[in-house]
Structures are given as structure tokens and as C-alpha cells.
């Protein structure tokens, strides 16, 4: 036993040392059989090079890139290049790839050659780069940084970065009023559309000037797929929408009234127009149907032949439109498909099954899975890992309409109002609470009606999602996953003195009575002078950790900004604050 433990320790030390030395090749298996080590890789993005001969897959959890030989449909190499990779694009020169690492806040430029994949250089970008978009001409790369609410625009002169990385610079930095994720260039690369990572906002940026042109709201949230149709006539957005007018009961879930899974077809002309009606000349498709929900559309792919594919992450399927016919064909793939890529000519579609650690290869003409490529054996799952599988599983809900992810994107909040029964009544839609950091901030639900997280989890499955009674182990695992979610980061203050002044005001006004550090909340409920539609007036104070990452405030979203909390609603103060005091308080709160 002791001997085994020593061996285990040595292995850990060895791996840690290798990791500390920086990028390394686990194996360069080109032309040779590759033995992949057990791991939880979690593929989230793909790119093709050499006319589709090589498929590159970035793994979020393992921080590695896998090289897949598409002729053989097998993994030939794995390169550990980062800590938590989020996206990957292939540059137009056909030799370079750019990967984003959210953990290090870096972009990694890689060169592909016969010798394999080699790192060229790294570039620091604002924290948590989660998505990349390359302009049609290949000269500009957009980087969305989640928690810093920024889009960086990088000029790639001559269409690629050279070996030294000298032409690898951030040219523009655009601040957004929301956390961005998906992006798409429009109008011959003169406009960049940036989608909200959690809510439903859509902004348009002038990439040349680095100027924010518009911010408009779509009726929806979880904007996960963004693509331009092959003919350029449509901007496709795969997303979800929840109606605050509906109830989280059997009937409204069954008929798709509470939560819809949509593919929206917007006119690029109206999207690009700063003041245009975003929905003018648009179409809305409803994915799934009664008895056959389509939870969590996570990616959309516009094929060169005009067809469209949508990954349904919550129900492990891909929808593929039919040539010359109405509707979609539903193709079962691996667990939680989140990324799609098509070969040249759209003959094959690659599907990254994030929680299966596999790639499904679809024959786009025949509409079937040709093969599933394993990305290596999976390591043993801990309770939180098993909980993660359940968190993203739409089959927990009635007919597969939604998963936990549907209202809590990546554990955060959709910022939407949902009329569930947590408060013991319908008719009082309430803002979806963020789960990030919530594992240690009970009681749960707005009115603090759930004394333990497990009870809340069980209630959410059986009532809000109208699913079947979960096993105790499933509840425990889901709770473990929620407890593993860390609170979102605050924002470093631009004016440290103002933030410090805000901290003093925070204490002076007694805010810490309900929001004391370090969790900035307390157990219990308080009447703070506002009530819901049913007259419930006592609320559990939400934690203020990561409060800057929320969009609208209070149980019914009545305050649109943090400043409104104090200026319009005077929470919880009896006197009117000066503009300076409000600015200072907001500055402080944003650091939490």
C-alpha cells in the first residue's frame, strides 16, 4: 500500500514538473500509434487544416490539443499547450492555428507542419478569453473576454502571423456592457456582431475603429451559436428563450411554452444597422417539439451547400436540415455536443462531444454517424464530475426541453425571469440566480425557502424542470458540482481611491449587516421594502461576490444597473445619495 502510494506521489511530481516546464508534447504520434493517457479532456472547439486532412481539437479540461487524421479517423498526437482552452481558429495561410486559454488569459499561436504542431508565440489578452472569430479576409481576429466584458481586435498582417509573432498585436480594445462570447463578422468584415454569453444582448462593433456601435436585446438568452449563412443573407443564432408569462408547470413545459429552443434567422442588414429593428424581416424556427425537446442548442454550422446543422447539447443530438425539404433530421451523437466543423464541400461534419470526450463524424449527405472517434480513455469521475454530466443533461427534464444549463449557463445566470414554484406560488416570476459560488451561501431560492442545496436541486428537477424523481446519488452529485463552481471574478478598480471610498460607505451605511465579507451574504431573510406579486416581502440577500457580472438586479430585475439600486430604489437607504457616493459604492461593489 505504502509502495503504491509512493509510486503515485512520484507520478504526480513528475507530471507537475513536466507541466511546469511549459508546453510539451505528450506524444507526437504522426505516423505511429498513439497511446492516450486517461484524462477528462472535454473537447470544446475544432479547426481543420490541409483541406480537411487534419482536424485539431482543443480540450477545455486537459488544456491540450489533439490532432486527428481525418483519413484514418484517429488521433495522432496530443499537445499539452495550456490550462483551460476555450476556442481555436485556423488562419487563412493554412499553416497556423490560434488557441485561447481562459485560465492564463493568453492566445497561443501554433504552427502546423510536417514535423507536427509547434508553438510560435503567446499573447496576453484581457482575462478569460472564451471565443475567437476570424474575419472573412483572414486579416483580423476578434477575441471575446468573458469576465472583463471586452472584445480585443488583433490585426494579422498579410493574413497570418509570422514565426516571430512580431505582427501579433492587439489593435483595438472594446468594452461592452455585458459578458461576451460568440462573435461573427458581417458586411464584408466592416461589422462585428458580439453575442451575450448569458443573456440576450447583441452588440455591433466597428472593428476598424474599435467602436461599439449598438447594443440591442433579443428575446432570448444562451446565445451559443452564431454563423453567417452560406449565401450571406442570414445571420443564424442558436439560442434559448424563456417566457416570464409562462409557468414552470407540466403544461407549459410540455407544450414548449415556458422554454423554447430556437434557431433565429436575422437579416444582417438590420443587425448591422445601428438603429434598425433587429427583428425586421427575421425568421424564428422552433427546434424540437412536443414529446421531443431540443435542449440547449449550443452551436450552429452553415454548410457551403446552404444547409444548416445545429448541435443540441442537452439531448446529445445534431439537427441537420434537409436538402430541398422542410424540417430537420435529428441525428444522435455523443454526450453534450458543443462544437461543429465541416469538411470542404460539406461532405462530413465533425461534432465535438464535450462530455463524451469524443468526436462524432457525420456523413452530411446520408445524415448518419459514420464513426465516433475516441479522444482517449476517461479518468475516473468524482462526484462533481458526475454532477457535471447531469447539470448539462436535458433528459432530466420533461421531454428534454431543458437542462440546468438552460437557465444557468455555465453555472451563472441567464438574467431572465422564470415563474417557478420555489416561492410556493405561480404568478411571481423571479430572476434566475447565479450558481457561481452559491454552494456555500445558503439558504437557497429568493425567499430562502430551501435550507440545503440538495433540497433545492431535487426541487429544481422535479418541479421547475418537471422531470422524474432523481436518485439520491444524482442529487448528491449535482450538489457537489454546484459546490465546485467558484464565484465570478470582480473587476479591478479603475480608480482605487473611489473603490476604497465606496468600501467605507458600504460599512457606513451598514450594508455589511446583510452582506458581510467574505461571502457578502448571510443566512436568513429580510424585508427590504419590496415585495413580489404575491406579497412576499422577505428575501435572502444574494451574495455580492461577482455582483458586477449580473445584468439587472433584485428579484424581478427591476433595477437595470448597480447605480439604479441606489439611485432609483434607494436600497436599503432612506436618504438620497450623491452621484459621487453612488459611483464610489458601485466602484467598490464591482471589485467583489
Amino acid at each position: 500500500m505504502v509502495k503504491n502510494r509512493c509510486r503515485y506521489c512520484l507520478l504526480v511530481i513528475l507530471l507537475a514538473t513536466i507541466n511546469a516546464l511549459g508546453p510539451y508534447f505528450v506524444s507526437d504520434g504522426q505516423g505511429a500509434d498513439l497511446t492516450l493517457m486517461p484524462s477528462l479532456r472535454r473537447p470544446v472547439a475544432m479547426a481543420l487544416l490541409d483541406g480537411g486532412r487534419w482536424l485539431f481539437v482543443v480540450n477545455q479540461r486537459s488544456g491540450s490539443i489533439l490532432v486527428v487524421d481525418t483519413a484514418e479517423n484517429k488521433v495522432t498526437a496530443e499537445h499539452a499547450i495550456g490550462r483551460k482552452l476555450s476556442d481555436l481558429v485556423a488562419l487563412h495561410d493554412g499553416r497556423h492555428l490560434v488557441a485561447a486559454d481562459t485560465a492564463t488569459g493568453q492566445l497561443i499561436l501554433l504552427r502546423w507542419s510536417e514535423a507536427g504542431l509547434a508553438e510560435v508565440s503567446r499573447l496576453d489578452v484581457p482575462a478569460a478569453p472564451v471565443a475567437l472569430a476570424l474575419s472573412a479576409d483572414g486579416r483580423r481576429l476578434a477575441v471575446a473576454s468573458l469576465w472583463t466584458h471586452r472584445v480585443n481586435l488583433i490585426e494579422l498582417l498579410a493574413g497570418s502571423a509570422d514565426a516571430s509573432g512580431a505582427e501579433w498585436n492587439v489593435a483595438k480594445n472594446v468594452e461592452l456592457p455585458f459578458a461576451p462570447r460568440k462573435m461573427c463578422f458581417l458586411e464584408r468584415d466592416t461589422k462585428l456582431v458580439v453575442a451575450d454569453a448569458f443573456g440576450g444582448r447583441l452588440s455591433v462593433v466597428d472593428p476598424e475603429r474599435g467602436k461599439l456601435l449598438s447594443v440591442r436585446e433579443l428575446p432570448g438568452h444562451n446565445l451559443r451559436g452564431l454563423a453567417l449563412s452560406a449565401d450571406g443573407r442570414w445571420l443564424l443564432i442558436a439560442h434559448q428563450a424563456v417566457s416570464p408569462l409562462a409557468r414552470a408547470d407540466r403544461e407549459d413545459i410540455h407544450w414548449g411554452t415556458l422554454l423554447r429552443n430556437n434557431l433565429r434567422w436575422l437579416s444582417p442588414e438590420y443587425v448591422a444597422g445601428e438603429h434598425a429593428n433587429l427583428l425586421a424581416a427575421s425568421r424564428l424556427e422552433f427546434l424540437g417539439g412536443t414529446g421531443n425537446g431540443a435542449a440547449d442548442p449550443a452551436a450552429v454550422l452553415a454548410l457551403s451547400d446552404g444547409r444548416v446543422a445545429v448541435a443540441l447539447a442537452g439531448v446529445d443530438a445534431v439537427l441537420l436540415s434537409r436538402t430541398g425539404a422542410v424540417g430537420y433530421q435529428r441525428i444522435e451523437v455523443g454526450r453534450r455536443p458543443t462544437a461543429l466543423a465541416a469538411s470542404a464541400g460539406a461532405r462530413q461534419i465533425y461534432v465535438a462531444n464535450t462530455l463524451a470526450d469524443s468526436i462524432s463524424v457525420l456523413d452530411a449527405d446520408e445524415g448518419r454517424v459514420v464513426t465516433e472517434i475516441s479522444l482517449g480513455p476517461q479518468a475516473d469521475l468524482l462526484p462533481a464530475d458526475r454532477g457535471e454530466l447531469l447539470f448539462y443533461d436535458g433528459r432530466l427534464s420533461h421531454d428534454g426541453w431543458m437542462s440546468c444549463q438552460s437557465c444557468h449557463p455555465d453555472g451563472h445566470t441567464s438574467h431572465q425571469l422564470v415563474d417557478n414554484f420555489t416561492d410556493g406560488a405561480y404568478g411571481n416570476p423571479k430572476r434566475v440566480l447565479s450558481l457561481l459560488g452559491s454552494g456555500e451561501t445558503g439558504p437557497w431560492a429568493w425567499h430562502g425557502s430551501m435550507p440545503d442545496l440538495e433540497r433545492q436541486v431535487r426541487f429544481s428537477i422535479t418541479s421547475t424542470m418537471q422531470g422524474g424523481e432523481p436518485a439520491d446519488e444524482a442529487v448528491t452529485d449535482l450538489a457537489a458540482f454546484v459546490r465546485s463552481l467558484e464565484p465570478p471574478p470582480g473587476t479591478p478598480p479603475s480608480d482605487a481611491a473611489a473603490a476604497e471610498g465606496g468600501r467605507k460607505l458600504f460599512e457606513q451605511f451598514g450594508c455589511q449587516h446583510c452582506h458581510p465579507a467574505p461571502r457578502y451574504t448571510v443566512p436568513g431573510v429580510f424585508d427590504v421594502g419590496m415585495s413580489d406579486e404575491s406579497g412576499h416581502a422577505e428575501f435572502n440577500p444574494p451574495s455580492l461576490r461577482g455582483v458586477a457580472q449580473r445584468d439587472r438586479y433584485f428579484h424581478d430585475n427591476r433595477a437595470e444597473t448597480l447605480a439604479d439600486v441606489f439611485s432609483k430604489f434607494r436600497h436599503p437607504l432612506s436618504r438620497e445619495l450623491t452621484r459621487q457616493e453612488i459611483d464610489a459604492l458601485v466602484s467598490f461593489l464591482r471589485t467583489l
Binding site: 417566457s243 403544461e251 407544450w255 411554452t257 433587429l278 427583428l279 425568421r283 424564428l284 412536443t290 422542410v326
Partner: protein
């Protein structure tokens, strides 16, 4: 307003009293009754119900009014002065119970007919005598339904008497989901399958909503996809004889058909709440005609008015009655007394403009030639102006194009089917003649 409350109350009181008073011959003059335990329970129950009404009803009558309504319903208005005085003097719970017991008609349980649940069996109507071996004698309808319902795939065995009498037999049924279409198309192709297109030079979609229920929007979505695939971009939405029981379904339907905005307010005793709709809508930018008649009731009327007001839909048909505006809510009674529906709120569509035209568009259709010569831009301008509120009240809908309904009447010489076809054809004419050329400012309006 009060009239409606009273009217509703008469039904309520009758409904509550029915299990006891059915089948009795009522005397002209109320007679004192014996105070049995059963009757005292009944009186206390009635008092409790009046308490709930006073607490929950949006425009509650007084307790005396409720008593009076009940007695008026029972005695047809021939109430004695004694009774009237007693009702007026009712102040406490004891007063209420004394009055009720004193003046309530005599009950003779032996004369009360046994009630049984009906069962539609073949072409006739049968009576259910037993459910899984339990007699239905004395069961309330809610209990019967509760015993008939169950998980999909399970069975229930009924003893039924095919003609209500005579020999009974056992029938075993397997429970299953019963699909129920609330939206149908123009022509039935086969069971539950409809063609939603009225063919012609310009194909027009035709969808009839028979009931605004929970599935209506889901059904409309499926039809929209089919119509889009068939290149249809004009729709006739038939709301004639449409009805809806639940406000939330009506709101869901309005939300699905309108591009955002405020659909009205719900006024209850707790306050006023706006109904705000999201910006997604079905049949976006389609030309739309809405068929209504004086049987377009309740929430269907509300939806029709919203489509006319906010979606530029042309309403064809007859003025709706405008008679319904209450939001009914099921309220549980204490113990096992069941549930009653109470008007707990009022649904209001829009505020009435002060200078509205009493007959905004009605004259247009009086002369077909005139209708034909009216420019559509002119029509639209009149429709979108401040005169869109129906002349006969806040809640009724006045058609833009008046056309007789299919309801038979002394003047009606054609068959219902023919008249149905006529009104739809007229709607087709209207919907295909619409050329909604939205101005740039409309399209470019800031959100």
C-alpha cells in the same frame, strides 16, 4: 359591472345549493325548516363561501347581496318582505346561518334524484355505475374524474348501463394521452390532419382556433412552419365561436401573435399589473385577417382586439359581445368542498380614448363598391388612429369589414357551410388585398 357580479353570483349560489335542492318543488313562500346537523353544516359552508368571496372576488358583493342573490335565484324574485328584512339585518355569522336555515327551501333527500356520471358509449349515452368496483352513487364529478384519471398505460374498469337503465356491463379502458386539436386548418385531409391553405391566385393560410388552451401556440407553430414552406404569407385567423378559460393561455397566445408591447392590464384587489409581451411573434410581417362573430367570447375577444389594435390585422365579421372581462381563478374551498371559480381580477385591454368615433369603420362595408374604392392606406390610417376602440364598449371588437356570421337567423337563407365559405372568401379578399408597405421609419424604429 354590478349586474355581472350578481349574475355570476346567482350561478355560484345555485351551483353550491344544487346538490341539496335539485328536484325539489319550491314553495312560493319560504317555509321554516328543521335544524338538522346536515343543514347547519350546509349553512356554515355557505357562510364560509361568502367569506372567501368577500376576500378574493375582484368586485365583491356584500354578504347580504350574496344571500339575496341566492334566494332570488331560488324563488324567482318573489321574495317576501320578511325574507328581505332578514337578509338586510344579517350582520354576524349567526345571523347569516339563522337566515339561511330559516328561509331555505325544505329539503327532502328522498326526492333527490341520484346523480351519476355520464359516459358516452358508442353513439348513445351510458351511465357509469362503478369505477374499479366502487359505486359512483353520491360521488362528485371531481371524484369521478379523479378515479378515471391515471398514469398512461394503466387500466380502469367501468360498470356501465348503456341506456342508463337496464342491464349493465363491464368495460375496461387503457389510459392514454388523448390528443385534442384546438387549432384546425381549412380542409380536413384525414383524422387530425388538416390542410391549412385556401388555394387561389394567392394562397392564404386559414387557421381556426376553437379553444384558447395550453396547446394552441404549439399547434400554431407547427402550422406556421408548414405555411412558410408553402410560401404563404397571408393568414386568416378564425376566432369565431372561439373561447378560452384560462387567462394565462390567452396571454400566451397574445404573446405568440404580437410583436411585444403592452397587451393590457390585470386589475385585481392587490393592484394593477401590466401584461407585457416579448418581441417574438408568429407570422411576423404577414398579412392577417381575423374572423369574429358575436360568439367570439371571453379571452378570444381580447386577443382579437389586440390583433386589430397592435398588429394591423383586419377584423372581418360581426361585432363581438364585449360581455366578458373577468379573470376567473379556481379557489379551493376548505375541507373537501372542492373548488369554485371566482372572478378575482378584471382584464382590460386598453384605455378608452375620450374622443373616439362611435362608428369607426362600419360604414365601409355597407356598400361593396365603396369598400372596393377605399384605398388601403386610407383604411390603415383610420385603423391605426385613435378611433380603434369598438363603439360598444371597452371589451368588444368591432370588425373593420362587417360581414354576417354563419349563425343562422330568420334572414339567413343560405346554409351554414355556404355562409362559412362566404365569410372566409371575404377574408381572403381582404387579406390578399393588404399591402402593408411598412415605412422605413417603422422598420427602423429603435427598440
Amino acid at each position: 359591472m354590478r349586474t355581472w357580479s350578481r349574475f355570476l353570483w346567482m350561478f355560484l349560489v345555485l351551483a353550491l345549493a344544487a346538490p341539496i335542492s335539485l328536484g325539489e318543488e319550491l314553495d312560493d313562500e319560504p317555509q321554516p325548516t328543521l335544524l338538522t346537523g346536515h343543514e347547519t353544516d350546509f349553512a356554515r359552508r355557505m357562510f364560509k363561501v361568502t367569506e372567501i368571496v368577500l376576500d378574493k372576488h375582484v368586485e365583491p358583493p356584500t354578504r347580504q347581496e350574496m344571500l339575496l342573490c341566492g334566494f332570488t335565484a331560488l324563488y324567482g324574485g318573489s321574495l317576501s318582505d320578511d325574507l328581505r328584512r332578514a337578509v338586510s339585518a344579517t350582520a354576524t355569522e349567526d345571523d347569516f346561518i339563522d337566515t339561511l336555515l330559516h328561509f331555505w327551501p325544505r329539503r327532502d333527500k328522498s326526492r333527490r334524484p341520484g346523480s351519476r356520471a355520464a359516459f358516452f358509449y358508442g353513439m348513445g349515452e351510458a351511465v357509469i355505475l362503478e369505477i374499479d368496483g366502487t359505486t359512483t352513487e353520491g360521488l362528485r364529478i371531481t371524484d369521478v374524474i379523479g378515479r378515471l384519471r391515471g398514469a398512461e398505460g394503466t387500466t380502469v374498469t367501468l360498470r356501465v348501463a348503456p341506456d342508463g337503465n337496464g342491464e349493465s356491463r363491464l368495460v375496461t379502458l387503457t389510459r392514454s394521452v388523448v390528443p385534442r386539436q384546438t387549432v384546425i386548418g381549412w380542409r380536413q385531409l384525414r383524422s387530425e390532419t388538416w390542410d391549412p391553405v385556401v388555394e387561389g391566385d394567392i394562397p392564404v393560410g386559414y387557421l381556426k382556433i376553437s379553444e384558447i388552451g395550453g396547446s394552441a401556440v404549439s399547434e400554431l407553430r407547427e402550422y406556421e412552419a408548414e405555411l412558410l414552406a408553402r410560401q404563404v404569407d397571408a393568414l386568416i385567423l378564425d376566432l369565431r365561436r372561439a373561447d378560452g378559460r384560462e387567462l394565462r393561455h390567452a396571454i400566451t397566445l397574445a404573446d405568440a401573435l404580437l410583436d411585444g408591447g403592452q397587451a393590457g392590464v390585470i386589475r385585481s384587489r392587490e393592484g394593477t399589473r401590466s401584461v407585457r409581451l416579448d418581441r417574438d411573434c408568429l407570422f411576423r410581417d404577414w398579412r392577417m385577417a381575423v374572423l369574429v362573430d358575436n360568439h367570439t367570447n371571453g379571452y378570444a375577444e381580447w386577443v382579437a382586439g389586440l390583433l386589430q389594435l397592435h398588429r394591423e390585422a383586419i377584423v372581418v365579421g360581426e361585432s363581438t359581445s364585449g360581455g366578458w372581462r373577468f379573470v376567473m381563478t379556481p379557489i379551493e374551498l376548505p375541507g373537501d368542498w372542492g373548488v369554485i371559480g371566482l372572478a378575482t381580477a378584471v382584464l382590460e385591454r386598453e384605455k378608452i380614448p375620450t374622443n373616439r368615433d362611435e362608428h369607426p369603420l362600419r360604414t365601409i362595408d355597407e356598400n361593396p363598391t365603396q369598400w372596393a374604392t377605399v384605398g388601403f392606406a386610407s383604411l390603415l390610417s383610420r385603423m391605426t388612429g385613435p378611433n380603434r376602440i369598438a363603439p360598444n364598449g371597452l371589451h368588444s371588437v368591432t370588425p373593420d369589414v362587417s360581414f354576417p356570421s354563419l349563425i343562422d337567423g330568420p334572414h339567413d337563407e343560405s346554409s351554414p357551410a355556404r355562409r362559412h365559405s362566404d365569410v372566409v372568401r371575404r377574408a381572403v379578399e381582404v387579406s390578399t388585398s393588404l399591402k402593408i408597405t411598412r415605412s422605413k421609419s417603422q422598420i427602423d424604429r429603435a427598440q
